[in-house]
Structures are given as C-alpha cells and as structure tokens.
Subunit: 138 residues, 3 copies
C-alpha cells in the first residue's frame, strides 16, 4: 500500500468564499502515482468545509443565501461561542456542508460523475487556513 | 491491497424518492472477495445523496416534509440556479443528507449497527442516475 | 495492509449530549500499530452522530439550541415516525451533524488541524450505544 499527503493553503479576501480545488486534488493524485484507492480531502479548520457540488455561479450564490438563513452570522450576540470570537455561524455552516469528502481513485483519476467538483468552503476567512489531501492505495 | 468498483443505476418515477440499496452493496462486497477494508458508496450526481438511516416508512415521510421545510422546491424562482433548471432545491437537500458514506468491511460483511441501512436519496429524479461503489482492502 | 477494529460504548445520562472521544480514537491508533492510513469513526446507531468540531462549551450549547430550531424534538406528534417511538428528531439532527468522520493517520497520529476534536453526538440517549473505529493502512 502506498500513501501520499499534501496540505493546500488558502487565504480568502472575504469572510465567506467557495473555491474549486478539483485541479489541485487531481495534481495530488498524479504526484502520488496511486492508480486504485481512495482520496480523503478535509478542511483542517473547524469553520471551513470541503464538499462536492456543481461549479455554477447561481448555485454558489444560492448556497450563500441559504446558509445565512439556516445559520445567520448576525447578530453575533445570539451565539454563546461569540464571547471572544464572532465566528459561531461558521461552525454551524460547516456542519451543514461537511468537513470532508472521500473520493474513489480509479485508473489514476478522480472517479467522478459528470458534474462533480470539489470545493473548499470558507466561512471565516481573511487568514491562512489549510486543507489536507491524503491518498491511500496502489 | 485489492480494489473493486461498480456502478449502480437508478431511474425513479417521482422527483424525490428513497431507495434502500443495502442488498446491492452487500452483493458488491461478496463479489469483491474483500474481507477487511472500507467501502465507499457515493452519489455520482449532485442532486442525489447516499446516506444511512432507518428503513421505516414514517421516518422517510418525515425526511420529505423536513427537507421541504429547510430547502423548499417552490417557488423555483427563489433560486438563482434555476435560470435554465428547476433543481436548485435538490442541490441543497443533498447537502444536508450528504453525498457519500464510508462503511467498514469486517469478515467480509458490512460492519453495521442493528438498524443501519444504506439509502439512495433522489432529489431530482425521473432520469437515469448512478451511484458508485468502491471497495479497498484485503 | 493492516486493519483494526474496536467498538466504543456510551450510555449518556441525558437525551442529548456531546462527548469528546479524541483520546479514545488516539488510543485505537496506538493499539493498531498503523502508521499511514485512514481511520473511520462512525455511530453504529441512527440517532447518534460522530463529527469534528471545537471543544468549546459555548459552541456545544449553540449546537443544542440550533439543532432544536432546525429539527425540534417537540411536539412528538409532528413526526410520523413517532407512532411507537419519540425520537424522530434524533434521526433528523444526526442527518445534519453526520454519521461518520474519516481522518488521515500520518506517522502513527491523527492528522489534525489545530482545533479539530472528534465528538460523539448523542440525540436519543439514556441507553447503551456504540461507535465503531476501523483503521486500515500500514
């Protein structure tokens, strides 16, 4: 069994942002030399998410509006976590969108359906944060 | 390390539907000959879900009502994604229910608690769509 | 490839509770002798969750309030599942928080960001329930 590990770093300009990281993960698979296995891609921070969905700007806008409805940022005082911080909503938003994805690696490629794309979802940005890519297989 | 891959195909009669696919996944494990490892089961489409819960008709009804409350289908015009499509709600519903499950394979079986069942959750059906089963182990 | 399996048992005093199980999972990794691989940690019951977030009491309180807003326990009669049971809300809450986490094992350790902690989330407690830890790797 082979294994491979890489960290991807991000620093978004706004508090919330969605970044398509599919090409970065594909590059990791190429570097790993692994042909059959699984790749885990996870946020290493607890106010960020890695998820799979469509790379369509209307939909990404819909996510922003919808997540603000289900877990609004403001008023900050509505959350007990926000004593010294203001990012409780980011913890909740990431709980809906998920911390990680596991994707099959087949014949040295991401084994994807027609529209699947991997996103880094940032819910408390403007600072350096990381995603972990771990691949195991042969 | 061994690996195994299979696609399961579905075409539901209604827009939303839940299908218990546990027997299909068990058959994949048998075919693979893998005794110890992990099985990944994921929707290959971004308006569908694979999740684990109870196979109880009342609960499946509750999921339908609850998801419609959290991410209503209509009016279609409430979502920017719905310019040429009408399935934005399916993208959101699947985000709550999850794209994939990873299940342990132990002694050649799904390593499950007493009531765990694997479901395909369709949120934009009436067309052919796929689930991927990937197993790695020995 | 090596594999390792262990069940962790819980019996909470209240209906809902969050328990930090990071030390238990670390002990499993030590016992397994696996240095590079992946660990799957999943609830074996369908009204419980395993998730990763911050071990901060204010945030855990926020989760309780927020999940009660998105999937309220009462009135029990609002859910069809609650004919002979009263735990439909637990099935819904666990759907938001997730059944499982997959974490990279690197150099014999949980490969974690600075604040990541693994929690058992109980949504229908006061009885003995289990979490499965399965590790594969080398």
């Amino acid at each position: 069994m082979k294994s491979y590990r890489k960290e991807l770093w991000f620093e978004t300009k706004s508090r919330r942002e969605y970044i398509n990281i599919t090409p970065d993960v594909e590059e990791c698979i190429n570097e790993s030399g692994i042909k059959e296995g699984m790749v885990l891609v996870n946020a290493m921070h607890i106010t960020a998410s890695v998820f799979i969905n469509d790379d369509e700007s209307g939909l990404l806008h819909d996510f922003e509006v919808w997540l603000e409805k289900l877990a609004p940022e403001k008023p900050h005082s509505q959350y007990k976590h926000n004593g010294f911080e203001d990012n409780a909503d980011g913890h909740l938003k990431r709980s809906i969108m998920g911390r990680e994805v596991v994707v099959a690696v087949t014949e040295g490629q991401l084994d994807f359906g027609p529209w699947e794309q991997i996103f880094y979802g940032e819910f408390d940005g403007k600072r350096r944060k990381r995603v972990l890519v771990k691949i195991i297989g042969e």
